[in-house]
Amino acid sequence: MLLPALLLVIGILVPFVQGVARSFTNEKSYVQNSAFVGFDNYLALFTNSTFLVGLGATILYVVLVLSIQIPLALAIALLLEKTSMMRRLGRNFIVLPLLIPPIVAGLMWKTMMQPSAGVLNYLLNIIGLPGSSWLTNPETSLVSIVVIDTWAFTSFSALILLAGLQALPESLREAATVDGAGWGQTFRYISLPWLAPYIVLVALFRVADSLKQFDLIWPVTRGGPINSTRLLHVQGYEEAFRFSSPAMGMAIIFVLWLIIYMASFLLLRLWRRTINAVE
């Protein structure tokens, strides 16, 4: 019964391993022959300023995504849990961003974020706030993508945390209230520890997905302006398919894969630990 699925696993792993092997060559799409060059591509990466800037931008992106989206998702979950009316209504529209193609989300926001004619600056001006140059300025472009990411994926985190809150036994909270705990204390000592494994789970998915973010960037900024949004997944694509160097592209992607693998490994371990702590 497992055999066909195993074949598929092999079908996925073989290209991957072959690709990693190719990252140790000097293969170019426009040259017939290629030779083994050892770690040259990897050594070249770490002296390449575009790669290093991209690596920094990727890590900054993940940090921004986590530090904005997890508190926000928690707030949304707590809000939606308040009344069943909000929960029913909220759940209905909150899932929308998750099910439309990310590329559509990206282009939607690109439209709204146009500095001179976009509706976002127009609305900000109406309520008395200054506009921004958003995606067109290297200083604000990465944060702008984070804003789009927040629109597109915070619902995911909020829904999981909401499910976590709903799984919290009512008796625990009631006991705390009887003991005279206020809302803040109940949250601090009952809800938050209960939610810990859910928060780690959310972090696991969001870290992996933001480390490999591509869909929200490629259609929107193509990595610019001036490398400000050239995250590693975008760089891997460009090296392999625009600059015809699949070897270099695979080297970048392998480094990215290692980072994701280590991060998810650590978060999975933390997840198991938090689950044991709750039980």
Partner: protein, 281 residues
């Protein structure tokens, strides 16, 4: 007074959330119904005479002409349906028996294998797509439905296996044992007894897998060509070097988002299980 203030606060927060989530969708919908002059008007127009010209342009070609103005988007829709439908079909065929075999520790190292499938969900897609590009060129699978369906397994198979597996975990053991006593082999147990019970699980796995396959951009960007281009890649054609055809793009984006939006309404209950691959249920 004490009870009213927080309530007002919650309502305002809820309204803010609704505006944040819904306004971009509302805005692109408006834009898709505007003619060119209304699209570029400043200040942005909220009231205007709506037109279906952009949709006509996208689906049947029109005044704007050019490569993407000739109604090729209909072909992209067909391509996306073929690839996502095929990918989900194959994943169900392969994934349901695999999920069954991987449940209840029937196989040694089942957890290990299940996590291998889950790890595909976290890996950067290019790790497989870059090598596949060269392999597909050699095998003549580049720009073919079969090639795309096979490559989309990277997305759909982990989803199907993990979602179905969590539903299988909820099936009472007695049900299986009774079937075994009646002389069913593993296939008989799965097909006659288990499959009907977990039908909702299979349905939600199939629907979510379809959406994620439909929404995917990278596979199409690299592995599809003029014969198999999906809608996600087709939308990119609105962005030219010198200008963006906003109205066309908005209409195409609305059309591309239709399957997801329809399903959002239907799939409330099983969505969370699906989105986290059943890890957090």
């Amino acid at each position: 007074m004490r009870n009213i203030l927080p309530k007002i606060g919650f309502s305002i927060a809820f309204a803010g959330l609704a505006i944040f989530i819904l306004f971009p969708i509302f805005w692109i919908l408006l834009m898709s119904l505007k003619d060119y002059a209304d699209v570029i008007a400043y200040p942005p127009k909220f009231f205007f005479t709506p037109t279906l010209e952009n949709y006509k342009d996208v689906l049947f070609g029109g005044a704007s002409g050019g490569e993407s103005g000739s109604g090729e988007f209909r072909e992209y829709l067909v391509n996306s349906f073929m690839v996502s439908g095929g990918a989900v079909g194959l994943s169900l065929l392969v994934g349901i028996p695999a999920a069954f075999a991987l449940s209840r520790d029937r196989v040694k190292g089942a957890d290990h294998l299940a996590f291998t499938f889950l790890s595909f969900r976290f890996a950067p897609e290019l790790a497989v797509i870059i090598p596949l590009y060269a392999i597909f060129q050699q095998l003549r699978l580049y720009d073919s439905y079969l090639g795309l369906i096979l490559s989309h397994q990277l997305i759909t198979i982990p989803l199907v296996i993990w979602i179905v597996r969590t539903f299988l975990a909820d099936v009472p053991l007695e049900l299986e044992e009774a079937a075994q006593l009646d002389g069913c082999g593993p296939w008989g147990v799965l097909l006659r007894v288990i499959a009907p019970v977990i039908r909702p699980g299979i349905a939600s796995a199939a629907i979510l897998a379809f959406i994620f396959s439909w929404n995917n951009l990278l596979m199409g960007l690299v592995l599809s060509g003029p014969n198999t281009r999906p809608v996600t890649v087709g939308i990119l054609q609105a962005i030219g070097f010198d200008q963006v055809r906003w109205g066309w793009m908005a209409a195409a984006a609305m059309i591309a988002a239709v399957p997801g939006m329809i399903i959002a309404v239907y799939l409330q209950r099983h969505l969370i299980r699906g989105l986290t691959m059943g890890v957090g249920k």
